[in-house]
Subunit: 371 residues, 2 copies
């Protein structure tokens, strides 16, 4: 009696996960975090209208969700001034990135991204046997010129960029991304991850026609809309590419409650404006806390802030560990020199104050450990 | 400017979907169905405790769900008397079947199933390039002996059987499935879809040790628990196989609201017992309605009933079309001779009565059309 015969690709994959969840850390520690500021969730929460819509939908959850996501796609098409056939809704950007990679990447196919960019995208590329080619960040920004230059060299099927960036919170103006689109080599597709663009300065989202076949854009309800746990993301792209998702996606994969919540949130424009102000104020507060401790906060176009701890990755990791021990959930970039920073999500005042209270001691103990 | 370069496999796939949703039909008709009895949803709805838990979780949906599904897996492990490491939770059985197929099926690999069995499983097999080999039903049951015999002949990596069966609602005793497990050829894995087993007679679920490497069992909150729209399924299998899902699954793919609802539903044993009684009564009512119209209902071990319309597939399809036109959403088996039936889901009295009111006219019009 043996187990199943896995594919050679599956046998070759390591047993890694892109992120360890805060609940796992809490179970290891034996107590909950005092401040949950590590996953770029939005602790200000969803729109009250979205909460009401989701609560109302709970009693109707005996029905499968509409597999066409018709009403949500229609509303999104209006927002983005395109056709519903330009939009696919899925189980978060993570789920949609998985589908996209499956559509184009077979073993040995090449993909270009940045060293230190979104690991879940890399998880999917590796999971379909793709070959990752990476360029470094430039001045804490992803580097469009370097990405295009490497793409012209290696002939990838996908080129990934997040704008705004995660984990550094930096952003390029929309014009820079538009110029990048113009240079995408024949046969490649630009994967433009705009998870945080709702929170970025005016002009960060480029005016790309939905039917441009060189690019696919990803958006989410996880960040500005405060609905990470609902798992609603969408992609905007040329109609043939969007139609291709139907060949493979989990057609009945969307929660009906999440569909109702996303639609209600989209309609609550007052809340969205309010959220942008709350998050801007929280970014400022994180900057103040950093400054009070002699650290500098990097400019942020997102709902999180990278704080430069002023030394190397070993030191920043020690600060992070001390914060974790003090009940503050934060994360940090994975590669040098960005790993000199810790990454702190915006959140309500009590969590900000818990972070402010814990940081001085965490810095002291990190300095004491490392000299 | 061209689009992306898809994989050869993707280029070869047709643009089909396993099921057209009732909302799509409603949009085409221009009015909603009076009775939604086609997707084996459970119109009696979720446990009030689950509804309360989901409504309460709506305000907390700014947090990602626990990617380990720890609390739910712990509760499921207690229910099934196994280790949490024997259980993987995913986005419905559909999502988990997709992951399983991805783990084992590469282009050209073989899979054995029944002609007319669950089309979404076939969708996934085709989606990874697998080769489907099929046996016919025997007496409106899936045929374990024939499945094993074909498996011994073609050497598949997966053998699919649903017990109870969908679309016929028939079931084998657990002992029959146990004997089937004993005969699974080396190198094959039995995929035992038990979506409906909570509603089947005592003894239908076989006592398979969770660590048996020859079989993986699938369960869901979509049927007995009335939570189809929440997208919570799980699989029970040997620890190495369950661990393999972590190599590829969408770790943050589960809705936090759905996690909370499933856990609450699992704990509400009173509701589960009540649900079994409601569904048994509804099965009887569907049988009465069939008999009142001179038709016979097949025995059901599920929350739906196959009604033999007494003629061929063309006639049953005409009855179905006439029911649809009268506002009654039902479906039917896809292949002969099972396609002599229509498939009607159990549901509350108003929907049963709408079906009862519509069936005589639908039969008359179908007879008039076909003579």
């Amino acid at each position: 009696m043996t187990g199943p015969r896995y594919t050679p690709l599956i046998d070759s994959l390591p047993s890694t996960v892109p992120f360890v969840g805060p609940e796992t850390q809490e179970r290891r520690m034996g107590h909950p975090f005092a401040a949950r500021l590590g996953a770029n969730e939005n602790g200000f929460g969803p729109s009250p209208r979205a909460i009401a819509a989701m609560a109302a939908a709970a009693g109707e959850v005996w029905k499968y969700g509409d597999p066409e996501n018709h009403d949500l796609r229609k509303a999104l098409a209006e927002k983005h001034d395109c056709d519903p056939a330009n939009i696919v809704v899925g189980e978060g950007i993570d789920g949609l990135l998985g589908y996209l990679v499956r559509l184009v990447i077979a073993p040995g196919d090449r993909v270009v991204t940045s060293e230190g960019a979104y690991p879940t995208f890399n998880f999917h590329v590796a999971g379909y046997g793709g070959e990752l080619h990476k360029v470094p960040y430039k001045g804490d920004h992803e580097d469009p010129d370097a990405l295009i230059a490497l793409a012209k060299q290696v002939g990838p099927k996908l080129i990934y960029i997040a704008n705004p960036d995660n984990p550094m919170a930096s952003a390029h103006p929309g014009e820079t991304i538009l110029r990048m689109v113009e240079q995408v080599p024949e046969g490649a597709l630009l994967v433009l991850d705009e998870a945080y663009v709702d929170l970025a300065p005016e002009g960060t989202a480029p005016a790309i026609p939905a039917d441009d076949p060189r690019v696919i854009r990803f958006r989410t309800f996880s960040k500005a809309h405060g609905m990470a746990g609902a798992r609603v993301g969408y992609a905007i792209g040329a109609k043939p590419l969007i139609a291709a998702f139907d060949k493979i996606r989990n057609h009945f994969g969307m929660s009906r409650i999440s569909q109702a919540g996303a639609l209600a949130s989209l309609q609550d424009k007052t809340w969205q404006a309010y959220m942008r102000r709350l998050i801007a104020a929280s970014r400022d507060r994180i900057g103040e806390i950093a400054a009070e401790n002699g650290l500098s906060a990097l400019p942020s176009a997102t709902n999180f802030v990278a704080i430069d701890c002023g030394r190397d990755g070993t030191f920043a990791r020690a600060v992070l560990e001390e914060l974790t021990g003090a009940g503050i959930f934060v994360r940090m970039p994975g590669v040098a020199p960005q790993d000199r920073c810790i990454r702190v999500s915006c959140g309500p005042e009590p969590e900000m104050e818990a972070f402010a209270a814990a940081l001085p001691g965490a810095l002291d103990r990190a300095r004491a450990r490392l000299g």
